[in-house]
């Protein structure tokens, strides 16, 4: 079966103002709205569009994290994924552990394509897709803004510092999505009802043979230094004067 595996991560919603815990042990997540990482929503949307074009038959969505991730998996099923896999893990899941877990799912599901977001907006690491591709010894096309599939290959346009780069990769391959790849669909109420009946399988890291090793110790979290509040100027002339006085122009 032509299958696409989409990895998603449950993160603090991007509209939430982040606050560091006073004891520096983390950021405050109690009572905070959690969502699918926005880049991962784009990944899922792309997979659904590929399926709707008849180029794939099944979209499987997966995550690695605590039991609460079921909420985000249900949202993904409501968007249109066919089934969901939750690899339950309660401690911190580093990108390398996530990549190893995804590799196990790849071996089990044999997808033609794995699509992930290019980074999670919580840890901003931008690692998991590249790590999975490396461990799997398959192509990676990261920061994708356009994807075209044809006979066992993908032509992917990537947003790079210089502009746009196009790669051709053999399938199976790992893609990570940039912002302008697509605009994810809204979930409709009847789809939420339907999603409750879709299959959601729960696995564990040890059950799939992945060691939950933490290689980086999180020593402390701190708020960033604040910029001093500046001044208001009344017009262009005053602005130019001020910049000249400061010696920046």
């Amino acid at each position: 079966m032509k299958r696409i595996l989409v990895g998603i991560k449950r993160v603090v919603d991007y509209n939430v103002r982040i606050r560091v815990k006073p004891d520096g042990s983390g950021v405050i997540t109690d009572g905070v709205k959690m969502s699918i990482n926005p880049f991962d929503e784009i990944a899922l949307e792309e997979a659904l569009r590929i399926k709707e074009k008849g180029l794939a038959e099944e979209v499987v969505v997966a995550t690695i994290g605590p039991a609460d991730c079921q909420q985000q998996l249900r949202t993904a099923l409501a968007m249109g994924a066919d089934r969901a896999l939750l690899v339950q893990a309660d401690a911190v899941v580093e990108p390398l552990v996530a990549a190893r877990a995804l590799l196990k799912l790849v071996e089990k599901e044999q997808p033609m394509l794995v699509i992930l977001g290019k980074q999670a907006i919580d840890d901003d690491n931008s690692q998991t897709g590249q790590m999975l591709a490396g461990l799997w010894n398959r192509p990676q096309a990261t920061f994708a803004s356009k994807v075209e599939l044809s006979d066992g290959k993908a032509r992917v346009t990537r947003e790079v510092d210089a502009g746009l780069e196009t790669l051709e990769v053999d399938l199976p391959a790992v893609l990570t999505t940039d912002l302008r790849l697509n605009e994810p669909r809204y979930v409709k109420l009847p789809d939420i009802m339907k999603a409750k009946k879709k299959p959601l399988e729960t696995l564990t890291l040890s059950g799939i043979g992945v060691e939950q090793k933490q290689r980086l110790k999180l020593v402390k979290f701190e708020p960033p230094p604040q910029r001093q509040k500046g001044i208001r100027v009344k017009d262009a002339a005053e602005l130019v004067d001020a910049l000249r006085k400061k010696g920046v122009i």
Binding site: Y14, I18, V20, E94, P95, L96, Q119, I121, D123, D124, N125, S126, T128, Q130, M131, L132, A133, G134, L135, N137, R138, P139, T142, F143, R155, R158, E159, V160, D161, A162, G163, L164, E165, L167, V169, D170, L179, R180, R215, L216, K217, L218, V219, F221, E222, P223, P224, R227, G230, I231, R232, K234, A236, A237, L239, V240, A242, K246, V248, I249
Partner: protein, 313 residues
């Protein structure tokens, strides 16, 4: 003994300035011996530039026709083959380094420290998370090799000049895949300074209203000798190309002067400019969050103010 291997970013003829910034980061590791590795089809020109950087003790060249374009799937196994004697393997937090370094880390079975903004010790680093709304200190445990990307806005470029480091050819035995092929790259040619290294940047937001209106920014930028940037909203709307995007998911920059024009200042944008020395904001909405971080704020109509500024400068 701290031995650092830095993966050079280049376009085949010119060393990217991001590499010189990685060298500065590496120099903040006490007693580091710094090697730069240049993978290329013909490495001579880039290697001699890398050899000039202060603090570099050795340059390794890995020449192979497969390295004509630096594709991560092809470069990663070569770096892994060389990584053995090194305690640290570093690359820049650019789209090149972000794409390549995690693949190297995974093949070495180690974690990656993304976006190093400060070095506390050879195993302890600070990095921004949550779009720069928190700073996390991490410790690499168990004597593992450190693989990291260097947040280039946090470091000055290592100066060139002085005595040149030795350049040595390295031979690498690694199986290189053929499953990934370069097709093309399209980049707007520009005589303006590069956005990532410019000392002055003029940036536009959604309030510009069209790609045509962006011309007034280019005109002001030219007067200032500045690069041009854009907010995500402006890029999404098609007013500016993607390579101009500044922010959490675009470029993180640290110019001497940043002029934000018609940019409201979403958190995701502010994270891209918080290291700018001086921030100027011009916006008609007096409540726009950009004014919270601006050193100089001017409330008014940008279409009137920008041409005035150009005349006055």
């Amino acid at each position: 003994m701290t031995k650092v291997l830095i993966v050079a970013e280049h376009d085949g003829s010119k060393l990217n300035p991001a590499t010189a910034k990685c060298v500065t980061c590496a120099r903040s590791l006490a007693g580091a011996e710094i090697t730069v590795v240049v993978c290329a089809a013909d490495a001579a020109a880039v290697a001699s530039q890398a050899a000039q950087l202060a603090g570099v003790t050795r340059v390794l060249t890995v020449e192979n026709p497969a390295n004509a374009r630096l594709l991560s799937a092809i470069v990663a196994p070569q770096i892994v083959a060389l990584a053995g004697p090194y305690t640290h393997v570093l690359g820049p937090t650019t789209t090149f380094g972000k794409d390549l370094m995690p693949r190297i880390a995974a093949l070495l079975d180690v974690a990656q420290v993304s976006d190093i903004m400060a070095v506390d010790s050879p195993t302890r680093f600070r990095r921004p998370i949550y779009a720069g709304n928190a700073i996390l200190t991490v410790e690499v445990e168990g004597g593992a090799k450190v693989v990291g990307t260097v947040r280039i806005a946090s470091y000055e470029a290592a100066p060139a000049g002085g005595s040149a480091a030795a350049i040595e050819k390295a031979s690498v035995s690694a199986e290189l895949p053929t499953h990934t092929r370069f097709v093309s790259v399209s980049a707007a040619k520009s005589d303006r300074p590069d956005l990532q290294t410019a000392t002055r940047v003029v940036s536009g937001g959604r309030a510009l209203g069209s790609s045509d209106a962006f011309k007034i920014l280019y005109s002001l930028a030219d007067k200032l000798g500045a690069a041009v940037g854009a907010s995500r909203a402006a890029v999404d709307a098609g007013y500016a190309p993607n390579e101009l995007q500044v922010g959490q998911t675009g470029k993180i920059i640290a110019p001497e002067l940043y002029v934000a024009i018609g940019i409201s200042g979403a958190i995701q944008h502010l994270t891209g400019i918080k290291d700018a020395r001086t921030i100027v904001a011009i916006n008609k909405d007096a409540e726009a969050p950009i004014f919270e971080v601006a050193d100089y704020g001017l409330v008014g109509d940008l279409f009137q103010i920008v041409p005035e500024l150009e005349k006055l400068i």
